[in-house]
Symmetry: C2
Subunit: 384 residues, 2 copies
């Protein structure tokens, strides 16, 4: 198929920030692109060729949209999978596939998939309802502490909880869930694997999520990770095997733990461009967004190594501020070497809301990390 | 002024390819952008926040558009300058200024500006009409050969001619023009200077236009130029002085000749992002498009050095093909290391029409140049 002709149409489900960054690349390649999103304010509304309003969880909305396009992809996981499956049966190329998305959408199914495919992940027990956990604790089938995870998406902020005592279960929704062993880890790592429709496969360098020592929050994404080569090799290998097990087409971000004894365990995966790959825009030979487009259109994949070292800092709303957003000291950070702010354009800030990200690149990764700390200490997302 | 707020509006005159590449950066910074262009098919029509139809040479169209914005810039030189001047008087920030554009729009005035400011350029004579040239030749005021250049824009393809005999004058339009000495040169160089509203100034590395030995056409733009440091220093110095002489705000691309005896002579300038800076998107710490936005909004300028070596190849329509465009072997070039095609999205090709460009980056500039030759020999812009 000639993607570079006006006969071809690419569909994107979801019109958020990730979609917006995909659209820069479809425009670069002059690929006609239609976007479906429920919000009339979606960032993708401008920059796509055709924008359609519709609920991504609604069968008919997704099905009718998909029937108009040649290749269909998504930038968010909350999508009606039955519609994707029907579209696949009728010849629409859906990448990543409905099968992959169905497996990933449910955390219990996702974990079982790893077990079935001999992929390393932390031990867990599956429960049909949270209420069943107490019994398991009582009869010794489960021991404290553990990580409770809702199986289904859509419980923003309430989907994960560390349970230290039976009392911690009280406020949790009574839904399908898993109880996962609490694994002490040295590092949280991520590898983005790109795989094209015809099976060409390339991994991005392992990145490291550096945590704030007290707040226990990811502060910096660092590429490449400052870990020994053999650990990097191990993480890349697990990520590659995961992508192959899914027969994945497109990007798969594989988040992993490096345990205290240097085991690699899969935490979870995302079948799309990912926060841990934003620095690829400035640091890599091929941005993750361009690579996703290459992969799903079965074009040759681009180089995934770095031109220079890259560090990414998320811009989140400061505590204590809600309302019309102001980026305090943005000019200060733009004075620093190799700093690029990406502002997502949300008009209202609130505590911890993701408002953008900042990439810092330098030929010397340690220097990039040093500047990233200055960025973090300078910019503040507040309100008027 | 808070550019990152919804109160601010940037206006761009011209909605072509350069504007499209600017818009990626205004979206990255979430800057509200309005575009004026005469064509309903303008590439900027999608991706800007507000699109307006109007003739850029029409006083009222430009004036009325400009009254709605806080900062006004342009991506093309053919603009009604009187309207820009009126807007400046009424407080709209116009960058680059109407005065600069007025000087540049007329090649005779532009050349006189260099002379007045002690900037090196090839000797020339100014004529009110082409018909006056013959007399000058007869009375010995002018000698053959020389380069005839129409003073005004808008004579696409007929604006420049090498005149070897009086007969060559016959077919030229009888307009204001200059006769410029034909200077034998070793290299054609270009330096893009960025200068912000408050006077911060940074130059991009000198680039080299490599010519096809037989066709005498620019084949490759190579960054940095493969010239001795002292020549690069000289070219940068001339470019810097030119930007300062104009009191320029925004980007100024200064095209120069390196003569046989290593003099640097200004050929012409463009007050906007330029073809000789396209490789900055992939090769530089800061793309020329981002830098233009930074400069006109008086934000700190970004680093202008290269992350890696960059080579740019223009994609032009092949001879003998007109009609619906096909990019033959585009997948072949996308397999090569560090290759990014930029397709401008024109649906119809014709011989020599500019349809896009391809950037090739590599840590080793010679390797990038080698791959660029493979690209040039592989891809062909033909028709169905």
């Amino acid at each position: 198929m000639n993607y570079f002709s006006s006969d071809f149409k690419l569909g994107i489900l979801g019109g958020g920030q990730l979609g917006k960054m995909l659209l820069y690349n479809t425009r670069k390649f002059d690929i006609y692109t239609a976007v479906l999103d429920a919000s009339n304010e979606a960032p993708c509304k401008i920059a796509c060729d055709q924008f359609q309003l519709g609920d991504l969880m609604d069968y008919n909305a997704v099905y009718n949209f998909g029937k108009q396009v040649d290749v269909l992809t998504f930038e968010i996981e909350n999508i009606n999978v039955d519609a994707l499956e029907a579209l696949e049966k009728e010849g629409v190329k859906v990448y990543p596939s409905s099968k992959t998305l169905r497996t990933i959408q449910n955390k219990a199914t996702q974990k079982l998939f790893y077990v079935d495919h001999d992929l390393p992940t932390a031990p867990f027990t599956r429960f049909a309802y949270t209420s069943e956990i107490k019994e398991a604790l009582n009869n010794g089938g489960l021991t404290l502490p553990f990580v409770w995870k809702s199986a289904q998406f859509g419980y923003d902020g309430t989907g994960v909880k560390i349970v230290k005592s039976a009392d911690d279960l009280t406020d949790l929704p009574n839904v399908e869930c898993i109880a996962e062993s609490l694994v002490p880890f040295k590092n949280e790592l991520s590898v983005i694997v790109s795989r094209s429709a015809s099976g060409e496969i390339k991994t991005y360098p392992v990145v490291e999520m550096e945590f704030h020592p007290e707040a226990n929050q990811v502060e910096y994404v660092i590429c490449p990770a400052r870990i020994p080569d053999e650990i990097a090799k191990k993480a890349e290998d697990v990520a590659l095997r995961t992508s192959q097990a899914f027969n994945h087409v497109g990007l798969l971000a594989v988040e992993m733990f490096q345990t205290q004894d240097d085991e690699i365990l899969i935490n979870e995966v995302a079948p799309r461009p990912h926060n841990s790959g934003h620095q690829t825009i400035e640091a890599s030979y091929t941005s993750q967004f361009e690579q996703h487009i290459r992969a799903i259109l079965d074009l040759p994949l681009g180089r995934t190594d770095n031109k220079v070292g890259g560090v990414m800092v998320n811009l989140v709303g400061a505590e204590g501020y809600s309302g019309n957003v102001i980026y305090e000291n943005i000019e200060t950070i733009m004075k620093m070497d190799g700093v690029t702010p990406h502002i997502y354009g949300k008009k209202q800030t609130r505590p911890f809301r993701k408002m953008g990200h900042v990439t810092i690149v330098n030929e010397d990764l340690n220097e990039a990390r040093r500047v990233a700390e200055q960025v973090k200490n300078s910019i503040k997302v507040i309100s008027e």
